[in-house]
Symmetry: C2
Subunit: 415 residues, 2 copies
């Protein structure tokens, strides 16, 4: 059993195969949550799991659970999961490497007639990316009781379509209640999406926890007018307010080095015509810090900045805090099993704090959880150029396999 | 003949009637150049002119000429014109008041069996607004030989559709060569689109010329990346570059008071996702000044600013100067006829310099031209709330009528 290894080539081929669903011309993926391509990859996933003898259930927020029985099926399942949705111009590995590593583990166990004591579950979480429906990780959040199902269903994209309607449309609004589903433990593999492992040449990141995040929606209202006639001192210009806030949050992040981060990723100008002073601007701010105290300080600095900009530009600004996720620690025992598996398998590894949010952070609220990071090229992610090495994906899947087998062994003994 | 007056109620009713074509819920218009609603209003216009006995020709850039014969039809026509296209959330008067005042003048002359010596022409210029196809006033520019027909046809909207294709699609790509069409003189009525007449309570603006304009397209390229992992000092952030340029051009305009103007009206962020550092930003700058020297200075300051921002943000910026229109003077004799008509009719009036560009400024390159401004409420334009008073529209149309009759009389005597 110590010799069990995943089939790295099969895993890589599967990543490339599903990478055709929603493929972009530049080698990336556009598979927005609850889009037609999301449906297509879900259908593929369900079929792949059923062909291994798994039973598949879907909950009311679209999370898919594929279950492989254990020798003692009354135990809470050990779960592996991640997500199959992507950014509008995302890569082939973000989330996908995690789900398909889980699939490869099920295939490996099946090939080797290896039965765990506890049942195993492989999970595809809905709308991890959050770029279509805010907040991010809304469905693992509903699973963990952080959001209500009603809140998730009511989330609306920029075209006015709701999460609930779109879930219904693609046929993945299941009957199982979100959260009525106990897990014994949860493990997730993911690309790092940062440069640390890649630049060090380290194969495995043992994720001990994650930085905190704050997401904001801002709507600035000014006075729409003719660009050729309205004197400068009379203008109430929402673009100027947005520009000052973009500059200001950049400065706030720089004021909290080296880990403070701030990003204005989305801007929508109305009416967006070159010779019209815009009447309003909608934009987003994403701020992160691994230290709760410092993140709170950044939040306070943002509120001060907004008031200053309102006063200076004579605009009105509505600020909504759409996501508030404090820094988190994973379960020490599960983290230890990941670290031990990497050591036993002979992979170079280091402890690491996650920059991005992950479904595992939501699941950690209701089950012991841990994560495995693998390097991605130059740390580039949320980009069509996102890339990972086949040997690193294989290594990560092997660590995941041995961590769950160890968890299964130890809990079987303990009971 | 001195007693001839337009029918103000009929003119107002006509403005309200055509205001149904492309009407927006908030009382404005969305009638983008070469859209289906542009076609609809053109069809209405052609029919209205033909019903008065006019012959209608369309040139190869879609300009529509409706001709009413003179007693000496060998003379160059005296023309009245403006445009029927609008901003995406524009008003009911911008351009439209000019074309429909011309129509009302033709109707008034017809009702009174009044025949001018020179033929009269009423013109609808294509794509004055320039918000769909840059540059603005592209078709009166082609008429005046400022742009080639090929250049106009190749102009592309943000969806990649060309001016030529869209002209063909709506059935207004005529056979007459643009510019093979001599005018004796050209008069245009327009709302002021600024607050001067409105705030003074003056009825008529005698337009002596127009400020200069410079339009720019900027594409900033940085490095797309994950908002949760890329350390601040390593970022190449195009939004930050755009923010600094928006702040900077605002400062440039304020450095050239009181007439300097600068506007960032359109911004497109890619991929425009809240947790992705954008890879690129496209945006526009519109700068104006009535003094050629100062406008050149503003242009120079912008180039310096762009270089500074490139250096400070480690981004690449491509800057295209898509419109360069120096300040202009209208024909003194035509301007005098507008001023005299306002005086004779007893309307309060003042000389004024136009803030926006107008087709008349292009036509002025090939024919003596002048303009009549009327007040609009609070100077608001390029906005659904744009409004004008019926009595001011009537007054403007009467000034236009008497200016062309006077021009016709004087040139008939002179020959």
């Amino acid at each position: 059993m110590q010799e069990l290894r995943v089939d790295g080539k099969r895993l890589w081929d599967t990543i490339m195969e599903t990478g055709q669903i929603g493929a972009t011309p530049r080698g990336g993926l556009n598979r927005l949550a609850l889009s037609d391509t999301d449906r297509e990859v879900r259908d593929w996933f369900v079929e792949a799991c059923r062909s291994l003898g798994c039973t598949v259930t879907v909950d009311e927020v679209g999370n898919i659970f594929a279950r492989r029985p254990g020798s003692d099926d009354s135990r809470d399942p050990i779960a592996i999961g991640s997500h199959l949705d992507t950014q509008p111009s995302g890569g082939k590995f973000d989330g996908i490497a995690g789900v398909l590593s889980g699939l490869e583990i099920l295939r490996t166990l099946e090939d080797n007639h290896y039965q765990t004591v506890a049942p195993l579950e492989l999970i595809d979480w809905t709308n991890e990316e959050g770029c279509r429906f805010a907040p991010t990780m809304i469905a693992s959040g509903a699973f963990a009781g952080i959001y209500s199902t009603e809140f998730a269903h009511a989330s609306t994209d920029r075209q006015g379509l709701t999460f609930g309607e779109e879930l219904e449309r693609i046929g993945y609004r299941g009957k199982a209640r979100a959260g009525d589903h106990k897990l014994g433990a949860y493990f997730e593999l993911h690309i790092e999406q940062g440069p640390i492992l890649y630049e060090e040449g380290t194969t495995i990141g043992v994720v001990t926890g994650a930085q905190g995040q704050m997401w904001y929606d801002l709507t600035v209202k000014g006075s729409q007018g003719h660009a050729g006639t309205t004197p400068m001192p009379l203008r109430r210009n929402p673009v100027l307010a947005c520009a000052r806030l973009a500059e200001g949050v950049n400065r706030i992040a720089l004021n909290h080095p080296p880990s403070g981060l701030a990003t204005v990723g989305l801007i929508e100008v109305s009416p967006n015509s070159r010779n019209v002073i815009p009447g309003s601007v909608f934009f987003t701010i994403d701020m992160r810090h691994p230290d709760a105290e410092q993140l709170r300080a950044m939040h306070g600095e943002l509120l001060t900045l907004v008031n200053q900009v309102v006063a200076d530009t004579n605009t009105d600004i509505d600020l909504q805090n759409v996501l508030e996720m404090p820094p988190k620690q994973f379960d020490a025992r599960c983290v230890g099993m990941v670290r031990d598996a990497a050591t036993r398998l002979g992979y170079s590894h280091r402890d690491i704090v996650s920059g991005p949010g992950h479904d595992a952070l939501n699941v950690a609220a209701v089950a012991p959880a841990a994560m495995v990071f693998i390097p991605c090229e130059k740390g580039i992610s949320h980009n069509e150029a996102e890339n990972a090495k086949p040997e690193d994906v294989t290594a990560g899947a092997n660590v995941l396999l041995h961590a769950i087998m160890e968890y299964d062994r130890r809990t079987a003994v303990a009971v």
